[in-house]
Symmetry: C2
Subunit: 473 residues, 2 copies
């Protein structure tokens, strides 16, 4: 910012004056409640008020804002539903929060090609509600009611990734506003292409640090004819993990396989009234497809589970029972929270190669025992991704104890060839682990790309990349 | 190269001297036959002899070569099996061809996690032969016997992409040597991760212009329990395409669906002795999975085909008949070539959203009729990707006529929201279409990334990106 000696207040005034000149006066807010609502995402201490919030209603609006911010060197962070858990949407000092939550149009829907184009502020739930009549759906399902733009930013996934992949596999193209305000389109509508650098994948997971996504071309999928669910309980964790490994190895196209450990299961039985189950390690399964295929998947899965000492295999063949089970899974976070209603819950997000998952969790349990904290575990076990829901209090000491445990868990995962985040992203919360995970050389390349795309660091500064060496070709 | 006023010969001598100092003397060849073998890929006129060929046996060797080439500003292109059809491996003037075909180790095999790490010179056929006992396989199957490094470079796919995806979906991580000779690792072994820019996807499809891939971490898949095949013939192309659309829309997890038009089918009947079939538009299907699921897929597919005026639906339920059918499909190129044995065949590689495929092919047939050339069509119809096999003679005029037809086909595809290459890549052959396909802004970003990663343009210069504006953040 050496070329811009004016004060932060002057620079902000410059941006706001430009926006007013461009007809965006009514979209600017500095009301305390609006600023507060844009000062943080979920579950993150590091809140900071933005200097102003601007509500965008179009790609042109976003371009106008970025052009002004670029000219005046004012940092800007995109804001959608605010469901980030790693501090992604916390504004930079003297920065603008650019709210895209009003951009909720389905721009085009191509049912024959199983794709659609949406504005970045649309949530996946709203999309699926609006396209229900087509027989199609969008499968990526992070826990919160996130926007599709935000899901691009964090490379989100969820329980269905084992079958359908993550945002990476389900986005065909993007409209992106670059740091300068220039608008580009990446990818397109075709299923595959070999014509140049994969800019779509570069922006997906870039957490608003390389550009701001305003439109997303999504792959859709046909709603399965039949959906079935099953539950199997195990007296030890290794057997449950081995069951998941064998299901994947056999190529059973399972649509979900989720693990709840005994602590989580006890909480879920209590919270969700799951009668008929014991507080033991449990796998929840979902099967989807044509009827004979689903029946065959259930039979094969049951055989694998029982051969791995599964204690019981209950097939939920009615829609009501299936809904009851999966609602319990989706409410696992709230069940964990209900263990101590006044506590706070901090979620880890490690992932390892699936064969190392049982070993990792065994080590994690030793760390948990030593911490004295109560920590239910649940996992997208088909991917090797799991969340430890660390229950702590609201004191700084309680938060520090939780973070200390989180760190221990992350370093265990990294030592086993894993990653510190399967789906939540880096934001500010995972910055400290990136060098261990990727190495200095790989980070130096990421920094070089960042500097190329945004040399003045106006795009969500301080997120995703710790400072360090920059690759020089 | 203004900072490097020495002659190309001096600079090459500088590189070779450095390599000899580093113990690589025996890996350097300037024999005429070796230079000739590295002067071109397949089916491309623009051959050029390299100044020298260097045979790498390790990542360290590649790093040594690139360090020297970077210091002396000598261009370098990686060479694997030489199966590129778009001129990717043609060396730059006074450049080195760096042959990785000796790097064929499986570095690690993790059967429980369904992944492996291989050196870039290994072919997919050799990989699959070596891992057969594990019950696993690698599904991406371009036509030639390509190396896995080369398949990364072009973002290859093939007939199985409709089920398993392309290289993009099947590579978990890479070892890459950068322009400076620095070695980095991207990605890892985990199924998914949200920790930083997706450098793996950036290098996949970058055609050796951003770095040279020396190792690849691959996803493997379980060999299906049952495989079945079927064939359906149609009296018109629209019905065949509509059949493919409905199969995809219904979510039938078909493993292959290939279209042969009447001209191609006539050639294949003759070449492969396909008795019992008519020279009509034909769909070849392959189904894979557990037995009941496969039977159900066949039944569903038959119903869809017949409801779209399919003339017959023949289910090949023996391994012999299945092999005979799919061998005919894989030999389609040779069948086309056999139409005029002395001719040359030039393949187009367009892709469009599948709903536009029938419209595109109708237009293409008008172009073909006007060209007076004989052109069988075959397509990975589940993806909307098809190849027109343009049969022409070996004269410059014949080549020009073929390229003129190729251009007409490409612009038709681009006008329908398509791409000029589904799987072959840009190389030199598709450079002229990139601006129409992506737009100036998107290309300006690609050029900025290229300049960041390789400011002296030593890595496969002249490929993938036409010259033009560079994005300045």
């Amino acid at each position: 910012m050496t070329d811009c000696p004016s004060s932060p207040a002057d620079r902000l005034d410059g941006v706001l004056a430009t926006l007013r000149e461009n007809g965006l006066a009514a979209r600017i807010s500095t009301s305390p409640s609006v600023l507060e609502a844009h000062s943080h995402g979920e579950a993150m201490d590091a809140a900071r008020l933005p200097a102003a919030v601007v509500f965008a209603e179009s790609t042109d609006d976003v371009a106008t804002v970025l052009r002004a911010c670029h000219a005046h060197r004012v940092p800007v962070v995109a804001f959608g539903a605010g469901t980030s858990v790693e501090g992604h949407v916390t504004p930079a000092e003297h920065g603008i929060s650019l709210d895209l939550s009003g951009m909720t149009d389905i721009v085009e829907l191509n049912a024959e090609d199983l794709d659609c184009r949406v504005q970045a502020g649309l949530t996946r739930q709203a999309l699926n509600a609006q396209i229900r009549d087509t027989g199609l759906f969008f499968p990526v399902d992070p826990g919160g009611e996130a926007t599709l733009g935000g899901m691009c930013a964090t490379r989100a996934s969820g329980t269905a990734a084992v079958r359908y992949g993550t945002m990476k596999e389900n986005v065909l193209g993007l409209t992106v506003v670059l740091a300068t305000g220039e608008v580009i389109r990446t990818g397109g509508r075709v299923r595959k292409s070999s014509t140049g650098y994969d800019l779509t994948s570069l922006f997906i997971g870039s957490e608003g640090t390389l550009g701001i996504v305003t439109e997303v071309q999504l792959r859709l999928h046909g709603r399965p004819e039949t959906i079935s669910a099953a539950v199997c309980q195990f007296s030890n964790l290794n057997d449950a993990v081995q069951t998941a490994i064998e299901i994947i190895q056999c190529g059973i196209p399972i649509s979900r396989v989720e693990l709840l450990d005994d602590v989580q299961m006890a909480a879920s039985i209590r919270y969700s009234g799951l009668t008929g189950y014991e507080p033991l390690t449990t796998l929840f399964f979902e099967f989807a497809g044509a009827p004979a295929a689903v029946a065959e998947q259930v039979t094969q899965t049951e055989a694998i589970a029982l051969s791995n000492n599964g204690l019981s295999f209950a097939w939920a063949d009615t829609a009501e029972e299936r809904t009851r089970l999966w609602k319990a899974r989706h409410d696992a976070f709230w069940a964990a929270k209900a263990i101590e209603p006044t506590a706070r819950v901090i979620s880890t997000d490690c992932i390892v190669p699936i064969s190392r998952l049982a070993e990792l969790i065994a080590g994690v349990r030793e760390d948990i025992a030593r911490s004295g904290l109560r920590v239910p575990l649940l996992g997208h076990v088909g991917d090797g991704n799991f969340h430890a829901l660390i229950i702590t209090d609201h004191t700084p000491e309680g938060y520090a104890r939780a973070l200390d445990l989180d760190r221990k868990i992350v370093f265990r995962a990294l030592a086993l060839g894993g990653s510190c985040s399967g789906e939540h992203g880096v934001g500010m919360g995972k910055l400290e682990f990136l060098e261990t995970e990727h190495g200095d050389g790989t980070l130096s390349v990421m920094r070089a790309l960042k500097n190329t795309m945004d040399p003045h660091h106006i795009l969500n500064p301080g997120k995703l990349l710790p400072p360090g060496r920059v690759y020089q070709g």
